[in-house]
Structure formats: C-alpha cells, structure tokens
C-alpha cells in the first residue's frame, strides 16, 4: 500500500495567494497537504519553524529563533545584519489558531492571526495581518518584502523634496 502511494507523481506545489483585504489588512493563503495538527506543529516548534521561515532560496539566514508558544509567551527571531523580529503570543488554540503581536517597530505594530482549517486531510492556512494604519501597511510592504524600505524611503524623501521646492527650478 505504502509503496504504491510513494510511486504516485509528486503533486504540484500549492499556490500562495496574497490579498490586500482593506487599507489595513493583508491576507496570505495557502493549502497544505497534511492535517492541521502537523501544520500547526511546524508553526510552533522552533526547530521546525526555523527550517522554513528563512527559505534558503531567498538567501535569508536565521541566526536564532526563540519561541515560547503560549498566551503571553514571547518570540524572538534574529536574522543576519542585526535584523530582529519579536513579539508576544496573545492567543494559542492548538491546531486551529495563533495570534501574535509584532513589536519590533515599537507600539502599535501589526497583529498577526494564523488560522488552520482542516478539510479532508488538507489544511487551509490563512494568515491575516492587521496594521494600525494604511501608512503602516504601505511602509511595511516596501520594507518587509525585501529589506529595501530604507532606500525607498530615501527616494520618496528625495522626490518629496523635489516636489515641495516648487518654483525654484534652476534656470541658468
């Protein structure tokens, strides 16, 4: 039985979708071919979590990963170049729901809710991020996606300066 199963062709990778649900909300969705209990485990055990959170294909390396997955417990992820992400778990419901804060940017950081919905042996994972404002989401977007937020910020500033200085066009 098992042998026959293993000889089946490898299924295609499931598609990841991202949607900006509102000005302050972002939703990432993906189905996994496993029961919720297994997917949940991969999100809550540090040694498993660190294997996928910093994908090799993106050249990201995770230096350390501490997770105390219980209500009020903290987490801290340290990447190279001193980049750190940390916060606290505010809801932990085994195999179905995780909610945590993202405090690295100070107060008013986004709140992440991950739900695990099992159907027919597969799990639909929905990650919902709620930001304090549209501007916070915009800023995180350019920043979190590739760490280029600062440069974009500089370019924005430069363009804003150019726009604001209005009539003083060099005319010589």
């Amino acid at each position: 039985m098992a042998a026959r199963k293993e000889s089946e062709p490898k299924p295609m990778k499931n598609r990841t979708t991202v949607e900006r649900k509102s000005e302050r909300e972002l939703i990432v969705m993906r189905t996994f071919d496993a029961p919720a209990q297994i997917v949940f485990e991969a999100w809550t055990k540090p040694d498993l979590f660190r294997r996928w959170w910093a994908p090799r294909s993106r050249g990201i390396s995770l230096l350390s990963c501490e997770m105390d997955v219980r209500v009020g417990g903290g987490y801290r992820l340290v990447f190279g170049k001193g980049m750190e992400f940390f916060g606290r778990y505010i809801e932990v419901t085994p195999h179905s729901r995780l909610v945590w804060t993202n405090d690295e940017g100070g107060e008013g950081g986004p709140v992440t809710t991950v739900t695990f919905e099992e159907k027919g042996g597969k799990t639909l994972l929905v990650m919902h991020e709620l930001y304090s404002s549209k501007e916070a989401l915009d800023a995180a977007g350019t920043g979190a996606a590739d760490g280029m937020g600062e440069l974009f910020g500089q370019l924005d500033e430069l363009l804003a300066t150019l726009g604001a200085s209005g009539g003083r066009v060099r005319s010589g």
């Binding site: 098992a2 990778k13 499931n14 598609r15 990841t16 979708t17 991202v18 900006r20 972002l26 990432v28 993906r30 996994f32 071919d33 496993a34 297994i38 997917v39 485990e41 991969a42 498993l48 294997r51 996928w52 959170w53 994908p55 090799r56 294909s57 993106r58 990650m127 915009d138 977007g141 350019t142 979190a144 996606a145 590739d146 760490g147 280029m148 440069l151 974009f152 370019l155 924005d156 430069l158 363009l159 150019l162 726009g163 200085s165 209005g166 009539g167 003083r168 066009v169 060099r170 005319s171 010589g172």
Partner: protein, 121 residues
C-alpha cells in the same frame, strides 16, 4: 526580484544624481512640458535635453509621448508601479517559505507513519 529592485533603484539614483535632471523632474512634477520648453528653461540644446530626459525615462521617473512634432514629458508611473510590485514581492517571499514548509510537513508525516507503525507492533 531583490536584484531587480536594486537595479531599479540604482537607475533611479543615477538618474537623480545630476542637478539638471533633478531640476527637470521638479519641473515636470509641477506641470508637463515639451522637450523644447525644457531645453529653453534650462538654457540647453535640444540634443542635450533629449539625453537628460532619456535617462529619466529609462529610470521610469519620466514618460514621454510624441504628438505630431512635439514630444511631451511628464512624471512617470514608476512610483505607482512600485506600490503594486511590493505585494507580488511579498507573495513570492511567502511562496518560498511555504514551499520549504511543505518539506518540513512531509518529514513530519513520514515520522507519524513510522511512529504509527511502531505503536501497532
């Protein structure tokens, strides 16, 4: 994708490293203008201005449109495109993570299978 963005930014910064080009962009942020008008304003030859506008155009900071014999320049959609591009970059990051997560999940499923077998024995 990151490389692409870097290259994009390099082009933007290179385009803005010149004082005349910054002036041109500043002018176009206020109002669109023809190459001829820009050349006059900046006291420059038409050919010289065309070169500057070309650099800004390549960086996506300026777009030009030729109507009849007049080429009109205006601020490009560069910024707008960037705003929608990050969502796609974000999606790619998560897709990469989740593809790795598939591997972790496969390992866990294998382990459960072995554990299950042991329990039955």
């Amino acid at each position: 994708m990151v490389q692409y963005t870097n290259a994009n930014l390099d082009t933007s910064f290179a385009a803005l490293s010149d004082v005349t080009r910054r002036g041109v962009l500043e002018q176009l942020i206020r109002a669109e203008a023809s190459i001829t008008e820009l050349a006059e304003k900046f006291n420059m030859t038409l050919t010289g201005m065309k070169k500057h506008v070309g650099v800004l155009e390549q960086a996506g900071l300026v777009i030009t449109q030729k109507v009849g014999r007049v080429r009109t320049c205006k601020v490009g959609p560069h910024r707008l495109a960037e705003a929608t591009a990050w969502l796609e970059k974000y999606r790619q990051l998560w897709a990469a993570r989740f593809d790795e997560l598939d591997g972790v999940i496969e390992d866990l499923k294998q382990r459960e299978k072995i554990d299950g077998r042991k329990k039955r024995e």
